[in-house]
């Protein structure tokens, strides 16, 4: 059996060895970053260095970086702690943004999976002020890049604030927080080759969010709890490497496009929802008509290929992607979608193995239906 082909980077990217080393080093060193003694100051230095690195990755002011327990927490804090009278979220947001405010208004997306800016404008006109708009920078399932700058412009016309979930985008495409103009961003370490359980809320105004977690005054009173120094150190190192190697993701786009072309050649009925819109270079959502997602994921897994049927859910069960439903993809097709996400370690040979497995599965399904 060959080694597993891992094509599920959007679920979690393998750690850069340097990031793992940075985290391990911090873990070995120990100490509380709030302590005044020398070991404490050393821990503090690791945290502050990481803050600089994460800020550089997303083009933000280090003072606005609040380390959190991950992207989910950052989305929750941004949405729940901003004092908005009404929250508007795109229908394709990650569940952590969708469920952060149960009264939130859902904004439609186009058939290409892009937020409908005209609908956003109308919803903002009808919303009580101040409103908050939550729009992701890139979708986790289709990879479609969202017009965040356009959403910010619409929000400004109506005096609304914008939170942008940049969890999937950061480390895969250049992110310039200042240029995009949103009020806050969420970033997650493990999506860009850092450790799990750490992320950041990036604030344009460093005092622009109240704490979600109360306690000590860590993170300048914006996030209580002893800093996860090891996680943060690993995050910082991963952010540095990701920033240096962003151009490798451009290489992945050629690999991804070749993979999609080969799939379409194998089955003219196969298609990729969202492919007409600008996408992340590494992500492909592919529909294999007549073969449900669960069968595809299981068959691939038994073949040593790790892919997914959409965003992972806590129970690990396979379920249809709600993002495709929001795009108006009919349920039969949505039930047959597979998400393939490449990353820094992915080789052309691995993509070949995936395409070969896809072809075998397609043949078997076609024979069964015939």
């Amino acid at each position: 059996m060959n080694a597993t082909v891992y094509l599920d980077y959007n679920a979690s990217a393998p750690m850069w060895p340097e990031a793992a080393e940075a985290a391990a080093e911090a873990m070995r060193a120990g100490a509380n970053a709030s302590s005044i003694h020398a070991p404490g100051r050393a821990a503090r230095a690791r945290v502050e260095q990481a803050r600089q690195s994460v800020a550089r990755l997303v083009g933000a002011d280090p003072a606005g970086i609040v380390f959190t327990g991950g992207g989910t927490e950052a989305n929750n804090q941004a949405i729940r702690c901003c004092g908005a009278a009404r929250v508007l979220v795109s229908a394709i947001e990650h569940e952590s943004a969708l469920s952060a405010d149960e009264r939130a208004v859902r904004l439609p997306v186009t058939a290409d999976g892009v937020i409908d800016l005209e609908a956003l404008d109308r919803a903002l006109a009808a919303a009580p002020r101040p409103a908050l708009v939550a729009v992701m920078l890139a979708n986790n399932e289709t990879g479609v890049v969202q017009p965040v700058a356009g959403a910010v412009a619409a929000a400004r016309r109506h005096g609304a604030r914008v939170h942008c979930d940049a969890v999937q985008a950061a480390g895969k495409i250049p992110v310039d927080a200042a240029a995009l103009g949103a009020d806050s961003y969420a970033v997650s370490a493990h999506k860009l080759g850092g450790p799990q359980g750490v992320g950041a809320l990036v604030l344009r105004d460093p005092d622009g969010a109240a704490p979600l977690i109360h306690g000590g005054g860590q993170e300048r009173g914006r996030r209580a709890g002893t800093e996860n120094v090891a996680g943060i150190a690993g995050f910082g190192r991963a952010a540095e490497i990701a920033a240096q190697r962003l151009d490798e993701f451009a290489r992945l786009s050629a690999l991804r496009d070749r993979m999609e072309a080969e799939i379409r050649a194998l089955d003219p009925g196969a298609w990729m929802p969202g492919a007409a819109a600008p996408r992340l270079p590494n992500t492909s959502m592919a529909v294999m008509p007549g073969c449900e997602s669960a069968a595809q994921v299981i068959a691939m897994d038994l073949d040593g290929i790790a892919v997914s049927a959409g965003s992972a859910c806590s129970s690990g069960r396979v379920r249809p992607p709600y993002v495709l439903a929001a795009m108006g993809v009919d349920e039969d097709a949505a039930m047959c979608a597979l998400r393939v996400s490449l990353g820094w370690r992915t080789t052309a040979g691995e993509v070949d193995r995936f395409v070969a497995a896809w072809a075998r599965l397609r043949d078997r399904t076609a024979r069964r239906v015939a």
Partner: protein, 377 residues
């Protein structure tokens, strides 16, 4: 041998195992793996993990998914959980409610086996490349001259052939039932020998989505109008009392009839959904010997013989088969004439036909032609 008729070595044969989280399906998976096959466990989430999930003795809620995963981990096989909630609702729960509203007594386990398990899960298993699907049902698949036959389990107390009569010949060819030749005690011993974490788990009892047997509440929730009050009448149509919805009554039921003073115990003889009447009568009024069935599934050959066939018919899951004569009609209909009358022939139940140990086929009991059938649309 679990799959002697598959023409490749066990190590190259992929066997999907439906794992409910209970001891039977865990032993099934362990035996398949131990025999050298590539076993893959699959567990279906059939309904929401609500308050019922922690309850012992019902299958496939949250705790059961966890148990199935732990069992698969202990055996060392891949395991997958599939969200089949909407399929289960559509294929099993909704028809279950409709059946009760129509005055029938449904058997949802048959419907579940026929649809969710042997249509949907089996289709999935074929798609992901499995060569066979094994389940923990107590029933035997026996090689016969015309292909595999379905036989009663060796353990008569556990036999589940009644719930599997609707299995098609094509499905049966793909299925394996490794526990059919074992007694329950032996299965428990195997679970202990294999050190499965579910070895001491209680057996499931109820209909899985009906906690504590309170099926009427489930029906009322799904079909709010169905619980309207009506009359309880005797065989002559005289009003004896009232009731709060026909869904609370099934044929043969004695409890819950809020009427008294008639001396002789009374039983539900039938329910009439159109008039919302519950007809009661003495025990003898329950007896009948002519059964009309629909949706006939025939396993002993391509089609049932056109002439009369001597069979044994089982009209309820807990009733032994009784001698009868089958006459197959057109479009899956048939009549079954029992040699001696049986009590409590209930529309909606399965009538399963045997030749000794072998399951010949079966169908769904329909309303008697001289009964209130005319009231049904």
């Amino acid at each position: 041998m679990i799959a002697p008729d598959i023409d490749k070595p066990p190590a190259e044969t992929l066997v999907a195992v439906a794992m409910s989280g209970g001891v039977d399906s865990a032993v099934t998976a362990a035996l398949v793996a131990e025999a050298g096959y590539r076993a893959v466990g699959v567990t279906l989430q059939l309904y929401d993990d609500g308050s019922a999930s922690a309850r012992k003795g019902a299958c496939c809620a949250g705790q059961d998914i966890y148990d199935a995963r732990r069992a698969a981990d202990a055996i060392g096989i891949p395991h997958y959980v599939l969200d089949y909630r909407s399929r289960f609702r559509e294929s099993v729960i909704e028809p279950f409610a409709d059946s009760y509203v129509a005055g029938e007594t449904p058997v949802p386990c048959v419907t579940c086996n026929r649809t969710v398990k042997f249509r949907d899960l089996m289709g999935l298993a074929r798609d992901f490349g499995a060569d066979a699907l094994a389940t923990g049902h107590y029933v035997r698949r026996v090689a016969g001259p015309d292909g595999p036959e379905l036989h009663r389990a060796v353990d008569a107390d556990r036999d589940q052939s009644y719930f599997l009569f609707a299995t098609t010949r094509d499905q049966l060819a793909y299925l394996r039932f490794p526990l059919g030749g074992m007694r329950k005690e032996a299965v428990r011993r195997e679970a202990a020998r294999l050190a499965l974490p579910v070895a001491a788990k209680p057996d499931s009892q109820d209909i899985c989505f009906v906690p504590g047997g309170g099926y009427a509440r489930v029906v009322e929730r799904l079909r709010p109008g169905a619980a309207e009050p009506g009359d309880i009448v005797d065989l002559q149509g005289r009003r004896l009392g009232g009731h709060d919805g026909i869904v609370h009554f099934t044929v043969g039921q004695r409890r819950g009839l809020a009427i008294g003073g008639t001396g002789e115990p009374l039983y539900v003889v039938r329910t009439e959904p159109a008039t919302r009447r519950v007809v009661v009568g003495p025990r003898d009024a329950l007896a009948g010997s002519e059964i009309r069935i629909g949706g006939l599934n025939w396993l002993a050959g391509a089609a049932p013989p056109s002439g009369p066939v001597a069979v044994q018919a089982k009209i309820r899951s807990m009733r032994p088969p009784a001698a009868a004569t089958l006459r197959a009609g057109a479009g899956g209909s048939a009549s079954v004439a029992l040699d001696s009358p049986e009590r409590g022939i209930a529309p909606g139940q399965a009538c399963v036909l045997y030749d000794g140990e072998r399951v010949l086929g079966g169908g769904w009991i329909r309303r008697a032609p001289d009964g209130p059938a005319a009231l049904r649309p």
